[in-house]
Amino acid sequence: MAIQPLLKSLQRRSLHHSLGERSPLPNSSHSEEVLPNCSHQMKERRDRFAWDNILNLVEGAFLFGTNMVNAGNMNGSGNLMDFLDEPFPDVGTYEDFHTIDWLREKSRDTDRHRKITNKSKESIWEFIKSLLDAWSGWVVMLLIGLLAGTLAGVIDLAVDWMTDLKEGVCLSAFWYSHEQCCWTSNEATFEDRDKCPQWQKWSELLVNKSEGASAYILNYFLYILWALLFAFLAVSLVRVFAPYACGSGIPEIKTILSGFIIRGYLGKWTLLIKTVTLVLVVSSGLSLGKEGPLVHVACCCGNFFSSLFSKYSKNEGKRREVLSAAAAAGVSVAFGAPIGGVLFSLEEVSYYFPLKTLWRSFFAALVAAFTLRSINPFGNSRLVLFYVEYHTPWYMAELFPFILLGVFGGLWGTLFIRCNIAWCRRRKTTRLGKYPVLEVIAVTAITAIIAYPNPYTRRSTSELISELFNDCGALESSQLCDYINDPNMTRPVDDIPDRPAGIGVYMAMWQLALALVFKIIITIFTFGMKIPSGLFIPSMAVGAIAGRIVGIGVEQLAYHHHDWIIFRNWCRPGADCVTPGLYAMVGAAACLGGVTRMTVSLVVIMFELTGGLEYIVPLMAAAVTSKWVADAFGKEGIYEAHIHLNGYPFLDVKDEFTHRTLATDVMRPRRGEAPLSVLTQDSMTVEDVETLIKETDYNGFPVVVSKDSERLIGFAQRRELILAIKNARQRQDGVVSNSVIYFTEEPPEVPANSPHPLKLRRILNLSPFTVTDHTPMETVVDIFRKLGLRQCLVTRSGRLLGIITKKDVLRHMAQMANQDPESIMFN
């Protein structure tokens, strides 16, 4: 086969590089860098040149800059052979940890579309191909919806089963959870509606006792053991197979959608490991949720399917449209809220969201929700465990406690963000970060030990939220609904008037208060560990607990003091005035809004959860209040805060730049620094260019007419120069180190017996963006944001003065906001 000689040549090449490149850095032997041994020279030159457009860490620069091995394929399964065969000059791929060129991607897509449209007039077959091309977008959305819905269904079913595995096992069929096991049994009584003989706790199974101190201790011990086992398996799998599968994923997806490249982050192994370990960590009882990781899983599905079609696999800009829609599908299956999912993608995750993407995202979200519904993981055609079905009215006077809940949500959001970022920074910089497995095990152990005694924390967080959201009818037998019933009551089932609380309710309030404190503290340490972790569910749990406590308080106040002025108008004795379940919902919305700073998408998600518009006003009041209170303390939500912590080059569209600086203040080189490294139009040799590339680590070089008249011709990317020169040396005859490189149309005048000149006009970008030196920075930031630029040249009267890169812009903004400008790491 033709593969064999190619394989041989590429193996020879890799051997050559791995033996020849014994640089002082580890893991550099797989590099494909043309110019060897530049690392230590780069270190010396770094002091002279003040720009550092790639990572500050030298190994990082060398490492990431040489990831051209996997250039062609974001999935990480690209071949070296692809790289070899990239035809000159079609070098349109990007390096890892770099930003894409949005304008070039857009123009390439327009070219492709025009070519297909022109060819479609030739024959029927070409016409059909053009139709298929137009429909490929919809096919991708359909596939994403199907796969995302299926994975969400699998995750829900597996979590249901494994959570119950910590407490017991079903003897008739081991794959049933507690509720499923007792589904067909007739032994359930009204008081003990969960008990059935087929499902036994571990103490019953092992020592045949179900009550008593020894049974309790044995159950406790086995609960902790199972939790530790699940957490250990999860963190080991993440560490061995897919380190990118840890964390929530939403900060990195936000950065990827704004144009950053992180190879392997949306790969197949990351998808598999994230799905499998998400089930394990949610079942282990840790205080985390699955919604954020589901967005990551859905985006991995989006990446996988878009790689099947060349329209999306070759164009990074189009691929990001698909990823935006996939993110919407992810939230849609997490909450059963398709519209909320689309709005979440629009508001939180996406960067450029054209209207075409809106319609396609909605389609993907609907398909995903429909697929999940047909799998029916919760047995009653509901998509989420905590769907609410009552419609009791609320009253204007209740807005006051709702706004109080909003204030609580905002304060909690601020507290959580500050503490979590401080803890994550400590994990990043001190020795704590060297023991990820031990950290996970320790946190799991602490969580399991403290959570088991309290019945509200022993069960899974989704079940807790579901119980808190539900209103107490006459049929509830839980402790939270232990009201003192009037024996003569004859009302129908769901219009129970307010009743005084029994002993069960007071005990439940104490336990809930302890659970609240515990959850607030433990979530700070859980979010950000090296396992998949989301924070929607823990935030909603904190809010729901607080809301329910406030709701029960208001209910009892209204019952015992129904003659006070505030209650007299709307609450008569014998009427159902206060619904504590509604307070729990409002509290959950407030806390979630306080942490993530979502606005519209939060309200829409909550109203899709409740199935009606009755509660929109309380939800909005709480969401707005919590956002205002939280914004008073800090502008960033949790995801933006994590982006800043990692130093990703994310230019937020929500930030406003209001300072009066000019482009000259930000551009490089500053006064006192070495002048710009430029290429000239037709007077540099191949050797000069190679030396320049070797000595500096800039991502691109401006091309000017000559060193005297610094009039700008265009801009050339470093990577493309390297590839072009390497290709030329191998393929073209007569190109040697003394050959002149020219960027013009016609070759320059050279003496008769000089070597063959090399034309590199194809890789030159003839329309780089330029601003004058007196352009206000406000405009420059706007240009960077709206066009997705990576660098912008500064000229004065047509002469090139300097360059502003995205990193310079981010550093300048950080400096203006009195943050540490050195924390911006990537370009």
């Binding site: 086969m1 190619l6 394989l7 041989k8 193996q11 020879r12 890799s14 791995s18 580890p26 893991n27 032997s29 797989h30 990082g60 990831n67 996997n70 990480g76 399964s77 052979m81 692809d82 065969d85 596939l143 199907l146 269904g153 699998v154 079913l157 597996a158 794959w175 049933y176 499923q180 007739n186 359930a188 009584t189 009204f190 509606r193 799998l237 560490r239 061995v240 197979f241 380190p243 990118y244 840890c246 964390g247 992180i262 392997g264 197949k268 598999l272 996988f304 099947l308 697929t371 799998i375 029916n376 990043k428 910089t429 970060g433 006459a474 049929l475 129908p492 089932v493 090296k530 994590h642």
Partner: protein
């Protein structure tokens, strides 16, 4: 080149088909007759304790009179009793649950076996196969006790044989290198995903 990309595309298509087949299999579970029920919960009434009744019945017959059999209260009280009862029609798919859990456990089991193989069995095998020559080239890996530590050595050795098995091994070594890079940036240098 084209074959390489084609084989990559072919494997992706095979993945997609596998996924869709699993999807179809899971969604096409037959309705077990035990999987539908009508569940009626009746609260305590006068001196009768609360009770739960459940019967395998169709949705249009799901109400108190069909399900609560035998009726615990005498004739005139039946209506008042039934007014308090709440009857719900529920269905589930036991086949889906069984298939899903078994598929999940098998995937988890396979991953765990592969992990044990990679972290413990493979280094022992390689040490036995390559012997002492390994020690000379492992200067860079001193202190590197992570899995896949000798991936690039194996990559260097696999130069001559170009058959299918070698291609697979080559792909595996490349994958291991990528994972090692990811692990270094996430766990060691804390550059990404802190």
């Amino acid at each position: 080149m084209a074959a390489g990309r084609g084989s990559g595309g072919g494997s992706r298509a095979a993945w997609a088909l596998l996924v869709l087949a699993a999807l179809a299999a899971s969604a096409a579970g037959e309705k077990n007759s035990e999987d539908v029920r009508c569940k009626c919960i009746c609260p305590p009434y006068k001196d009768h304790a609360g009770d739960i009744f459940s019967k395998n019945i169709s949705q249009k017959d799901c109400d108190c009179f069909h399900v609560v059999v035998p009726m615990p209260v005498p004739g005139p009280d039946v209506e008042a009793y039934c007014l308090r009862c709440e009857c719900k029609y529920e269905e589930r798919s036991s086949e889906t649950i069984k298939i899903t859990i078994i598929i999940y456990l098998s995937i988890l089991g396979l991953l765990l076996l592969y992990m044990v193989y990679l972290t413990m069995v493979e280094p022992i095998l390689k040490r036995r196969l390559f012997g002492h020559s390994q020690l000379i080239q492992s200067d860079e890996d001193i202190g590197d006790h992570q899995p896949f530590a000798n991936a690039h050595d194996v990559l260097a050795r696999s130069r001559s044989r170009a058959n299918m098995l070698n291609k697979v091994e080559y792909a595996q070594q490349r994958w291991k290198l990528q994972v090692q890079e990811q692990r270094k940036s996430v766990f060691d240098r804390h550059v990404v995903l802190s």
